[in-house]
């Protein structure tokens, strides 16, 4: 029984991390029509940068925020100087993001070596918290809470602010949004930076659980892809539901079929593709 609880908590934690990763991925895909294949690299790069920042005396949370900002700035440069040059050529944009992800992975290997680096759990969140007689790892609970807070904040941003309304308009119909005077290309930069920030931040707060190692980018990217194919692109609710589905499948799959956990993960994606290709919460393509 206790095992199931631990698994459930782990699933929720992974779901929360995946939500932070895939919300940005989904927004970028929804708005810019680019499956950003550097998204896993942003996650890994954020975590690596944080290890260096922490080594230079930063606290955990400031390091997470600053690493996120550095990666967001990098993402902004990529969007502004490379992706924009290729506007309209969607395939070229995908291939550029793929090429960049190889370059980032190699630079990380060069700078931070091939050994896994563990980010220490921030003080105050170590140990376990007892809820209803069961002990839960405090840090994992905290990650879940952070994910929920970000989900609420993102929802408020998209649903309640002027910027959010403009982003939604761009996702629905970019040419029409341009006609009514929305600077869609400026939105591209904003959304790309936001997505990069979220991915890097997720990488840092995932550090105490997952560690950082070469190949982490390649492991996280397919998870984000599955979440978006499951939930539907450009839909925040879709990312949220998809993330938790994937989080649960991954942890329970690993416990029950250790050799096939990675495959179990993709089964609901295949099912959704066959039954509802636009994703659970996506709208059908026009």
């Amino acid at each position: 029984m206790a095992l199931w609880f631990v698994l459930a908590v782990n699933s929720i934690t992974l779901g929360g991390l995946l939500f932070l990763l895939s919300a940005g991925f989904s927004l970028i895909f929804g708005l810019m029509r680019i499956p950003n294949l550097t998204h896993g690299s942003f996650f890994m790069l954020g975590a690596y940068l944080a290890t260096s920042l922490i080594a230079h005396g930063f606290g955990f949370w400031p390091a997470a925020v600053v690493a996120g900002l550095l990666v967001a700035a990098f993402g902004g440069l990529v969007e502004r100087f490379i992706l924009r040059r290729l506007a309209g050529a969607e395939l070229a944009q995908v291939l550029v993001t793929l090429g960049l992800s190889f370059m980032i992975a190699d630079v990380c290997l060069m700078v931070w070596t091939g050994d896994p680096i563990r980010i220490d759990t921030p003080p105050g969140l170590r140990g376990a918290t007892a809820i209803g007689g069961l002990g839960f790892p405090t840090y994992r609970l905290a990650v879940s809470v952070v994910a929920v807070v970000f989900a609420a904040a993102l929802w408020a941003l998209l649903d309640r602010t002027r910027l959010g309304a403009m982003i939604r308009a761009g996702v629905d119909d970019a040419p029409m949004a341009r006609v009514v005077g929305i600077h869609v290309s400026r939105l591209f930069t904003v959304v790309f930076c936001l997505g990069a920030w979220l991915a890097a931040f997720a990488g840092v707060i995932g550090g105490p659980i997952l560690s950082v190692y070469p190949g982490l980018d390649g492991e996280m990217l397919p998870l984000a892809l599955v979440v978006v194919i499951l939930g539907g692109s450009g839909s925040l609710l879709g990312s949220l539901v998809g993330s938790f589905v994937v989080g649960f499948l991954y942890n329970f799959g690993q416990a029950m079929f250790p050799e096939l956990a990675y495959v179990v993960l993709f089964l609901p994606m295949l099912l959704v593709l066959v039954v509802r290709p636009q994703g659970l919460f996506g709208r059908p393509a026009v």
Partner: protein
């Protein structure tokens, strides 16, 4: 003029091991040939059907793993090759049914995910695939009494298969089927209105592409006598796609030139620098940004202008 160039190229390729005494270079040419087959296979989809796959290393690897499993099970080479190709065709059909639920970017994303499933099986399902350690096979076949154990023997066999692949591509491009595949790329709706079964045309193109990917995968296995998850990684799919794009999509010569370029750069670069992945990524970015149509069409344009 073209016939002379073609005859000269054939003569050079056919006699290569006779005057190129270094086995190192003969081996590199063999690599170029089987990667060219793989690139031509991807080109059927990426170039002519307008469907860019980032999961083809999965099919390439399924063929390699299937042949390795059958051979280590104690069966003959003929059974290994035939079985591997049959399994690859079935896998291609499954890939196609799923990936063709989307077109354009949807297709790209689904093929990435499918490729990762194959990678996950190769890497984690240790009782089947021996995980990260891969599978070794011993010995290459000797068709018609010609042993492929030497670099030259293997080279000639690969060359024959390569020429068959090029010939089949040439027939494909000129055939009504090839024309209808290009039609679904350029004007899918009109093709549909004209009464063509767009889905079926794409499906058959996918099978054709999958078959030659499988052939390349089997040659890869025999060349290395080893297959590991590295062969099915996303990097491998991207490398093969880079060959197609670097050379020029939708041309016959482009993928062959691209395969040559990537294999040579990879071997030369890895002899001098450790950072092959960085170079690969940088070439990718540079070609897409500065020469999006690829080297062969770009070069032809320069020649025509002068």
């Amino acid at each position: 003029m073209r016939r002379v160039a073609l005859a000269a190229a054939l003569a050079v390729l056919a006699t290569l091991p006779l005057w190129l005494t270094s086995t190192y270079y003969v081996n590199i040419t063999s690599q170029i040939l089987f990667y060219a087959i793989f690139a031509l296979a991807i080109n059927v989809l990426a170039g002519y059907a307008g469907l860019v796959s980032l999961g083809h290393a999965g099919l390439f690897g399924i063929a390699g793993y299937a042949a390795a499993k059958i051979l280590t099970g104690g069966h003959a080479h003929a059974a290994g090759i035939a079985g591997a190709l049959a399994i690859t065709l079935v896998a291609s059909a499954a890939f196609a049914v799923l990936a063709l639920r989307g077109t354009g970017l949807g297709f790209v994303m689904i093929t990435v995910a499918l490729g990762q499933i194959v990678w996950g099986v190769a890497y984690r399902w240790i009782s089947l695939t021996n995980g990260d350690n891969g599978i070794n096979i011993s010995g290459r076949p000797s068709p018609l009494g010609l042993s492929l154990a030497t670099p030259a023997g293997f080279y000639w066999a690969t060359l024959v298969v390569f020429l068959l692949a090029v010939a089949s591509m040439w027939v494909f491009v000129g055939s009504p089927f090839g024309a209808s595949v290009r039609g679904t790329r350029d004007q899918a709706r009109r093709m549909n209105a004209l009464g063509y079964h767009v889905w079926m045309i794409r499906f058959l193109a996918f099978l054709f592409s999958g078959f030659w990917s499988g052939v390349a995968g089997v040659l890869y296995l025999y060349y290395n006598q080893f297959v590991s998850p590295q062969a099915v990684a996303l990097t491998a799919s991207a490398e093969a796609l880079l060959m197609v794009i670097a050379g020029g999509t939708g041309t016959l010569l482009g993928p062959i030139v691209g395969a040559g370029l990537v294999v040579v750069v990879k071997n030369v670069a890895s002899a001098y620098i450790e950072r092959w992945n960085f170079v690969l990524g940088a070439i990718f970015v540079a070609i897409v940004v500065f020469m999006p149509e690829g080297l062969v069409p770009g070069f032809l344009r320069l020649v025509r202008r002068s």
